[in-house]
């Protein structure tokens, strides 16, 4: 069996936001942008499609979406054509699966596309459908829905235990909205001030409007292939997938794996594995895209990814260590807080930004970035997914 090195060679996005478009429309837009990024590649050469979407079944009344998307994009896959659903991590799951297929020789050139049409014609259905995102019979029936209440309690835990402040939470939002202000594909192109974030209307205190990612429509697509084909298709620097990990230790609100809600054992478990597989440590990461579904999430991720000590995530962000010029710039394209979060597309958006960073062509470039990390948490914080990319395999 071959053991090929796997590269990401191109990426694209539809415009993200409140879109007057269907998921089928937006998938075509993302795929077009992705093919425009790799002009030498013909659609006929793509032998695999992984389509990451959680809500196409519910909000677009379309299950088995992969063949529909393949047909609309104009692909005729012969190695793999299937849908992937890991909610917020679906895109990253698709990239992990494609990496395995290409590495082993079971596929050669795979498109990972994905996204969501979350806005329904009536707004109640948009929120109501979120009850399907978690353990339906136990957590959904408790009205936990998508998890502002859960992350509110997580934020309180972190504040009481480690002295984290609302200003430190807000600093995450200010940084990511500033990073996203120049990203034309994201949901927002508007920076916010500390005063605006602190004074915003409450959602689930201490979390206010700017502490939460918005509800967003959008799709994204990337292309993966093996090293030899990547060299043939593009003169750009090669960007390799160096390591991947995905850890899930529980699936419902009763069986939280950590000591307390701000202790993310499943994230540390995934981090340990991905660093081993990529043969790097947290100090080697030049740039990261981590899952800032809520401001508190990014703070805890800094700790449990090993960028700073446990309990110091708030200070790490506030002192600029996760900003340009700091220890490790995080969410350089605006993250979820500025780009929005059409679940299946988010990991793909992160991969595209990482491709741009490591090839030196990002809108907000981290100078000389050679190794990058992307991270998703999914559902009611039930799963952590991490990929490490590098200019060297």
């Amino acid at each position: 069996m071959p053991d090929r090195k796997v590269c990401i060679i191109g990426g694209g996005m539809s415009k993200w936001g409140v879109r007057e478009a269907s998921i089928v429309d937006m998938t075509q837009e993302a795929a077009k942008d992705c093919f425009d990024d790799v002009p030498a590649l013909k659609r006929a050469d793509v032998d695999g499609l992984l389509f990451a979407s959680s809500y196409c079944g519910r909000r677009s009344f379309q299950v088995n979406a992969a063949p529909v998307m393949a047909e609309r994009i104009g692909l005729k896959p012969t190695s793999i054509c299937t849908r992937v659903d890991t909610l917020c991590a679906g895109g990253s799951s698709g990239i992990i699966l494609a990496t395995g297929l290409i590495r082993s020789g079971m596929a050669d050139i795979v498109m990972i596309a994905g996204g969501e049409k979350l806005y329904t014609p009536q707004r109640w259905e948009t929120y109501y459908s979120e009850l399907a995102s978690i353990d339906h019979d136990w957590d959904g029936a408790q009205g936990i829905g998508l998890p502002p209440p859960f992350f509110s309690m997580t934020a309180q835990e972190h504040m009481k235990r480690y002295g984290t402040t609302k200003e430190q939470l807000s600093a995450v939002s200010v940084k990511n909205r500033r990073n996203g202000a120049t990203n034309p594909k994201g949901h927002f192109q508007k920076a916010v001030t500390m005063e605006e974030v602190m004074a915003a209307r409450p959602i689930a205190p201490p979390l206010g409007l700017f502490d939460c990612t918005p509800v967003t429509d959008g799709c994204a697509a990337v292309l993966l292939t093996h090293e030899d084909k990547a060299k043939e298709l593009s003169d750009r620097p090669l960007v390799y997938i160096r390591g991947t990990a995905q850890a899930t230790l529980h699936s419902m609100s009763m069986n939280w794996p950590g000591e307390h809600l701000a202790d993310w054992l499943h994230l540390r478990t995934a981090a340990k594995k991905v660093y081993e597989r990529a043969r790097v440590g947290p100090g080697d990461i030049d740039v990261a895209q981590t899952h800032d579904c809520f401001t508190i999430s990014e703070i805890i991720e800094m700790e449990d990814l090993g960028f700073c000590k446990k309990g110091e995530g708030g200070h790490f962000v506030e002192s600029g260590q996760s900003d340009f010029g700091g220890e490790v710039p995080v969410n350089t394209d605006g993250g979820l807080l500025s780009c929005g979060h059409p679940f299946g597309a988010t990991g793909i958006r992160q991969a595209r930004e990482m491709l741009h960073q490591l090839q030196g062509r990002a809108i907000k470039q981290v100078e000389g970035a050679k190794i990058g990390l992307t991270h998703n948490l999914s559902g009611l914080n039930v799963e952590h997914t991490i990929l490490i990319y590098g200019r060297e395999p």
Binding site: R58, W124, Y127, Y128, E130, L131, D135, H136, D137, W138, D139, G140, A141, Q142, G143, I144, G145, L146, P148, P149, F150, S152, M153, Q156, E157, R201, P202, I203, A204, P205, L209, M252, S253, M254, N255, W256, L261
Partner: protein
Amino acid sequence: MSVLGVPILEGLYPSTMDLYPLEAKEFNRIHPFYENLRQKRFTTTKCKKCGSEPFPPRVVCPKCNSDDLEWVDLPTEGKVLRFTEEVAGVPLGFESPLIHALVDLGGGRKLISRVVNCKEGELKEGAAVKLAVFDIPPMIIEKKGVMAEAERVFFAFEPVKK
């Protein structure tokens, strides 16, 4: 030709839009949990072979693979560790503020539950809460072409009034 309407607009029950579990025995092997709830009991399954008591209830023991399980009672009183009052984005079917708490039931069991019969600002960390059982809308089951209502209950926790 005649054009038929969208079925749910004709008053049919769509179970895929039902936020509560399909509790009836025709659709659910852990229906005794809900029957016990009706008796104000909070229960789960215990493995007769290895003794593990996971929650939520199972039909197969996730530890030893046995399917020889029995129903046992869990505590119905607990202590609030953390709580949250959601004021925006509350799903249809719930009222704002939607209050949730991380409840310590003792013995290493913690769960996140909705807190009912409680006003905004009333709950405190460390407060005692107890199981609250209430009626929810029935699910509608088609039996030989006839629509029958299957009554249901569900649970939350509520403050223990002093």
